[in-house]
């Protein structure tokens, strides 16, 4: 990742002295031995005069100069040689022009060519810029010098496959950064193939460049406004590349700095600028514009060299295979960043049955930041005893997808009335001993257990239930065997019994109501074969 200075450091260059070699290894820049290039800024404070300027890696044969317009600033990207030397050039009289160093790249994250490669578009409109001969695979972006002399012409840069049409005038020098695809290609727009020049300066090895810019335009003028990128920037991001572009043909003032920096170079933006700053605490960067017609887009972030890592899903609720889930219970889980890569909240999709929910849907809410999001998805109530399928997908900010989680859980059971069974004495039985306890079974149906406290047994005028000394039971909520003692019945007494019970979920069993007849006095017993007799009423 590039190193940003707390405040940008000026490099004095004598105007009219041709290519002035500056050694940036000493104070105040102190570029280390592994520095390969700088993030620079050219400022021309003159109110009305444009000056030709140039920059090149020391040892380069490039001899290109172009204008830095009056009252304007130009971010640029330029290599330094192994001794951290750079060649800078200000045309004669350009005392109002100053080169600044905002920061530098080391050999871990960037390469700058000694001599630039011309990639000037030969057709108007968007055309492919093929850098595959210069940039190795696995690189993420390309540094350009995008120039156009003193006539305005339309120009633009975008990552291959992007839909952005961020095209506007350019004049003079413009340092640019564009994302490249796996084939090391990007697209450039030229409004005038004879004046618009595009030079490949170097390439970025680590970091992330968005496919399309993220519009983060501020809403105030002439004051620094912090732009909070915590929801977009990978947690390890240390710097951000912003692209400023007006929506009209006017050159507006722009300034950009890291939060906490006192830099305040507030000059005109002609008309594109790809400007890099360190990200401050909370992933913020400060931007000031003179007019709301100047838009700001996030191009990408500088990152340490990290391996894209999928988000880690934890805290899943309802869990895999869980049962008895409330029909209105939301789906919630936590996605945590791994290996320094952040979670891309926009990549999170939660498919509940056939409906897919994602950020922006009313049912989808989240808390946290790219380090860790806790996501909650509400949904229309499920049915009871429904097996609900949920599919969760998410990717890291570096577009590493996690393994799809496809699982099911089951909602709460449908209340099912228990069954009353195995009555002893049996309904209608006769010759029942006068002290025979009333026994029966209660069986749960469909998993909805029996609520033992709901069982009531009415024998004659008395009602017995759990807790009464006469009431005893064995078994579990899936099946109880219940026995109720009682005061002795009379001889040949017709006893009426009513039994009620409910399931745990409150479904009542069909009331069992029956009678029995106790035995008679033994003296009444008749002898003989079993027989059927008819009697007149």
């Amino acid at each position: 990742m590039p190193v940003f200075f707390d405040s940008m450091l000026a490099v004095s260059v004598t105007p009219g002295a041709g290519w002035v070699v500056k050694d940036l290894s000493g104070a105040p820049w102190n570029l280390p031995s592994n520095a390969v290039g700088i993030i620079g800024l050219i400022v021309n404070t003159h109110a009305s005069t444009n000056y030709l300027c140039g920059y090149r890696k020391y040892g380069s044969a490039d001899n290109y100069t172009d204008y830095v317009y009056a009252d304007s600033l130009v971010p640029f990207y330029c290599g330094v040689d192994v001794d951290r030397k750079i060649g800078l050039n200000i045309t004669s009289g350009g005392t109002t022009v100053t080169f600044y160093v905002i920061g530098y790249f080391t050999d871990e994250e960037a390469v700058f060519f000694t001599n630039w490669y011309s990639k000037t578009p030969t057709v108007t409109g968007f055309s492919t810029v093929d850098c595959s001969a210069q940039i190795p695979a696995d690189s993420v972006g390309a540094f350009f010098n995008f120039c156009n002399g003193t006539t305005v012409a339309y120009a633009g840069l975008r990552k291959m496959g992007a839909s952005d049409v961020l095209v506007h005038y350019i004049v003079g020098h413009n340092g640019a950064i564009a994302g490249i695809d796996g084939d090391r290609k990007c697209e450039a727009y030229s409004g005038n193939t004879s004046t618009v020049k595009l030079y490949l300066v170097g390439y970025l090895k680590s970091g992330t460049i968005k496919l399309n810019g993220l519009n983060v335009s501020i809403g105030s003028t002439d004051v620094f406004v912090p732009i909070d990128l915590s929801l977009d920037a990978p947690p390890t991001a240390t710097g951000v590349i912003l692209h400023h572009k007006p929506t009209t043909g006017t050159a507006y003032y722009v300034a950009q700095r890291a939060v906490g920096s006192s830099d305040d170079k507030y000059y005109k933006n002609r008309y594109h600028s790809w400007y890099c700053s360190a990200l401050g605490a909370g992933k913020t960067v400060e931007v000031k514009v003179s007019h709301l017609n100047l838009d700001t887009y996030v191009v990408g972030y500088f990152l340490p060299t990290i391996t894209p890592s999928p988000p880690l899903l934890t805290g899943l609720s309802p869990g895999v295979g869980e049962t008895g889930v409330a029909v209105d219970e939301p789906i919630s889980f936590t996605l945590s960043a791994q290996g320094g890569d952040g979670v891309d909240i926009n990549s999170v999709t939660v498919q509940i049955k056939s409906d897919i929910f994602q950020d922006g849907d009313g049912e989808f809410s989240f808390e946290g930041d790219v380090n860790s999001y806790t996501i909650t998805v509400t949904h229309p109530d499920f049915g009871l005893e429904e097996s609900v399928n949920v599919i969760i997908n998410a990717s890291s900010l570096l577009e590493e997808p996690m393994e799809e989680l496809d699982y099911n859980f089951t909602t709460a059971m449908i209340p099912r009335a228990p069954l009353l069974v195995s009555f002893n004495p049996r309904p209608g039985q006769t010759l029942v001993d006068i002290n025979l306890p009333v026994g029966f079974g209660v069986m749960a149906v469909g998993g909805d257990g029996v609520d033992i406290d709901s069982v009531t047994v009415q024998i004659g005028a008395e009602t017995y239930q759990n807790g009464d000394p006469e009431f005893s039971y064995t078994g579990t909520s899936s099946e109880y065997a219940i026995m109720v003692a009682h005061a002795d019945w009379g001889l040949e007494e017709a006893v009426a019994i009513k039994i009620n019970a409910s399931s745990m979920l409150g479904a009542p069993a069909v009331e069992k109501s029956y009678g029995l007849l106790t035995k008679w006095d033994p003296s009444l017993t008749r002898k003989g074969r079993g027989r059927i007799e008819l009697f007149e009423l």
């Binding site: 049996r426 209608g428 039985q429 006769t430 010759l431 007849l517 008679w520 009444l524 017993t525 008749r526 002898k527 003989g528 074969r529 079993g530 027989r531 059927i532 007799e533 008819l534 009697f535 007149e536 009423l537």
Partner: protein
């Protein structure tokens, strides 16, 4: 009422063809004041002889009907009809009612009698599994007690005989009019 005497014969006089004759409901008891096993089923079949007088015409045509429980439909009893009373504990009763409706012009007339046979079925335990579940036979494993028999006897008038009878009735000093015959 009295349980001193059980009904052995049901006698219905003055039964007229085309007019249903209902017997007042009777109590059917199984094992009254007897300590017996539970009857798994009590069945009723109507057994007729091979002559009209012995009820062959009645059972062939289902003129005789029975109902259980004091309400509901009367079930026509054919020769092969088995009416199930269901299981009964000893010393329990069910109501039983009869209907005889011989249509006009039927062969059945004059004295006709047939037998009501009540059969007690008790399943006999023929085997036992180690965990104690009783297995009950439904065929040869069922005890049939000797059927209890009750005779049903009726005197049925056809239209011709009734006309003769009506003349006599109308001439009777106790005759109270056409609509007061029964």
């Amino acid at each position: 009422m009295s349980y001193d005497l059980s009904v052995l014969t049901i006698q219905e006089n003055w039964v007229r063809q085309g007019v249903a004759r209902y017997t007042a409901d009777l109590e059917l008891w199984y094992g009254r004041y007897m300590e017996l096993p539970r009857a798994d089923d009590v069945q009723l079949v109507v057994v007729a002889g091979d002559s009209v007088r012995r009820g062959s015409d009645v059972v062939e045509n289902g003129y005789f009907k029975v109902r259980i429980g004091g309400s509901g439909a009367y079930v026509p009893m054919y020769a092969d009809t088995i009416l199930h009373f269901g299981g009964m504990y000893p010393h329990t009763k069910k109501l039983i009612g009869f209907e005889l409706l011989v249509p006009e012009g039927a062969a059945t007339k004059g004295y006709v009698m047939f037998e009501l046979q009540f059969i007690i079925k008790i399943a006999r335990l023929w085997g036992q599994y180690p965990w104690g579940m009783g297995i009950y036979g439904s065929g040869s494993g069922v005890h049939d007690f000797h059927p209890n028999k009750v005779f049903y006897r009726a005197y049925v008038f056809d239209q011709a005989l009734w006309s003769v009878l009506q003349v006599g009735i109308a001439a009777s000093p106790t005759y109270r009019g056409e609509d007061k015959q029964w």
